[in-house]
């Protein structure tokens, strides 16, 4: 099936809302953490983990699992929320985000949190990691997929384009890169800090297949994420809104990593409750 029923779509929308509330709760409690870029990828992760990736939360090391890399490691709160919802670890762990001794580090640590496939945080490395994983799978005749979620801001890093050339050279058809194209980075709009131009056209010029979709619509995301075809690697440009779901955060670069006051927290939760 490459389409979802209306009921499935509404279930995933609701799940994305739950994940957003969890992100606001845990970053407020932690007193820090990146809300904007977490909120922009709620639907992407909800659809991936809920419907697309083959994985077994009770057995994180299952060899045949698909691999997911959160290249934009600062969106760790959203990854932790989805991993907890999927059962990789108890939801009570979320209360320890960024606390001393916690498995839930400020950025994902593969040695500490079950379900984290690669330690990230320094930007621009996830596509390269995905190439290594996809190449290893092909070498061993494994059919699993490798999916990397990158931020649009981190595409400023030249390593992404080194990786883009290499993945195309290797024809890694089971590698999928998703760009969370929320158009805002730490210092401001991507158009001001470092204009990205037509990302789909850029990836096509590098020899990739490129699609784009509404990154907040599960009905659009699902077929775009399950799609597999022979030939070159594929990128999905997911058009998103930074801080999506919390009006005062939406599109505002100041919410890239700012801490929430109690008043911010109450407004954000109230808004997300209404949207339920």
């Amino acid at each position: 099936m490459t389409t979802l029923t209306a009921a499935e779509v509404s279930e995933l929308r609701e799940e994305a809302g739950t994940l957003r509330r969890m992100v606001i709760e845990m970053t407020y409690r932690a007193g820090s953490g990146h809300c904007g870029g977490s909120l922009s990828c709620a639907e992407i992760l909800a659809v991936l983990y809920g419907r697309v990736l083959r994985h077994r939360p009770a057995k994180p090391g299952w060899p045949e699992r698909d691999r997911f890399i959160l290249s934009k490691g600062h969106a760790a709160p959203m990854l932790y929320a989805v991993l907890a919802r999927q059962g990789y670890f108890p939801a009570t762990w979320l209360d320890t985000l960024r606390a001393l001794g916690s498995p839930l580090q400020g950025h994902p640590d593969m040695r500490k949190a079950p379900g984290v496939e690669m330690s990230t945080g320094s930007l621009g490395m996830g596509i390269s990691n995905g190439i290594g994983m996809a190449w290893a799978a092909r070498l061993r005749g494994e059919r699993r997929r490798t999916v990397a979620l990158v931020g649009d801001g981190e595409l400023n890093e030249g390593q992404n384009w080194e990786a883009a050339m290499l993945a195309a050279k290797l024809g890694l058809s089971r590698l999928l890169v998703i760009v969370d194209h929320n158009r805002v980075q730490l210092d401001g709009p991507t158009d001001e800090v470092m204009p990205l131009g037509d990302l789909a056209a850029k990836f096509r010029a590098f020899g990739w297949q490129a699609d784009s979709c509404d990154g907040h619509d599960p009905a659009a995301l699902y077929p775009a994420l399950v799609k597999q075809s022979a030939g070159p690697p594929r990128v999905l440009i997911a058009h998103t809104v930074k801080g999506k779901g919390v009006a005062f955060m939406e599109g505002d670069h100041r919410w890239h990593g700012a801490p929430l006051t109690e008043a911010d927290y109450r407004r954000a939760i109230a808004e997300l409750e209404v949207a339920r």
């Binding site: 593969m110 040695r111 320094s122 070498l139 390593q159 080194e162 290499l166």
Partner: protein, 311 residues
């Protein structure tokens, strides 16, 4: 004993990589368009499906290797030492070292051995850069046997290992004991002074000990092939039993073997010390032997350092 045949360390590395590849199907090799120089091309010819030429993009190559290691392969990442240690340092730090991934980093043309190419290519700070990273093991083989043994030990080690390889020719000494990461060899006994050598300085240091013996000074030669973790017991014993220490490395004195030994002795066993190494300058083009002379790395320099101690 040194055999008559001398061979470039890169050839020894390239050939042994092929031998290990036959026994270890999980071993894969990556290079960044210098495989015909570093000799990983030999592995590529023997195992084309297990060799990946990443083009001139060292940072990407290291992160690709991180992904391979996370998927259960044992990658050997090869390039020129300065490119791995400095251009790809973020990727090595943030992914390989941070998560202690079992990746072997083979830094070729290290020290002054890329002599004619000049200071832009000579790698004099790689040991300092990589030693500063937690979880990282740093090995500087001093001859053919250590080059092969280091590669085997790195493959057995569950964590990242940097192997510093010279382009220069080297002999083959007999291993005094089974090679273990972090376990020094005493290559020559003596109690008048201790010469602590690593990597390409091993042969010059043994030559210096021979010259000193002619003058009646019995020098102990401690072969610290592993700079990190440092064999602290071997260093402390040398300071305790020999009284004075000379460290010998083809590397900047800032952050290399000499610095590590000095830190250890200052805390635990203060002893008079001299350091043979490069004194905070970049190299330049020239013959390899001329460069070693220019920067004070010859057996004669080691002898003079020993003679400079107060009687």
């Amino acid at each position: 004993m040194t055999t008559a045949t001398r061979q470039s360390m890169r050839m020894i590395f390239g050939d042994h990589l092929v031998r290990l590849g036959a026994a270890h199907p999980e071993l894969v090799a990556l290079d960044a368009d210098v495989s015909n120089s570093t000799q990983t091309a030999r592995f590529g010819a023997a195992f084309p499906d297990r060799f990946l030429n990443c083009g001139i993009a060292e940072g990407n190559m290291v992160s690709v290797a991180a992904g391979m290691a996370a998927a259960g392969l044992r990658p050997v990442v090869s390039s020129f030492a300065f490119l791995l240690a400095t251009r790809a340092l973020d990727q090595i730090r943030s992914q390989i070292a941070y998560s202690s991934l079992p990746v072997i980093l083979a830094g070729g043309y290290a020290g002054l051995s890329d002599a004619a190419d000049g200071g832009s290519h000579q790698s004099i700070a790689d040991v300092a850069c990589l030693s500063a990273l937690p979880n990282m093991t740093v090995v500087c083989p001093g001859d053919a046997a250590e080059t092969e043994a280091a590669l085997e030990a790195a493959l057995r080690h569950d964590g990242p290992v940097y192997i510093r390889l010279s382009r220069a020719e080297t002999g083959r000494l007999a291993l005094p004991a089974p090679f273990q990461l972090g376990k020094a060899f005493v290559r020559r006994e003596g109690r008048d002074v201790a010469l602590l050598a690593t990597g390409q300085m091993l042969e010059s240091t043994l030559d210096a000990a021979g010259l000193l013996a002619e003058g009646g000074i019995q020098a102990r030669v401690v072969d610290l092939h592993t700079v990190k973790p440092l064999d602290e017991q071997a260093v402390l014993a040398a300071a305790r039993e020999c009284g004075a220490i000379v460290t010998c490395e083809e590397h900047t004195l800032i952050g290399g073997l000499g610095s590590r030994v000095a830190s250890l002795l200052a805390e635990r066993q203060p002893a008079p010390m001299r350091m043979i190494g490069i004194r905070d300058v970049f190299g330049q083009s020239g013959g390899y032997d001329a460069l070693r002379k220019e920067y004070g790395l010859t057996p004669g320099d080691i002898v003079r350092a020993v003679l400079s101690f107060e009687p």
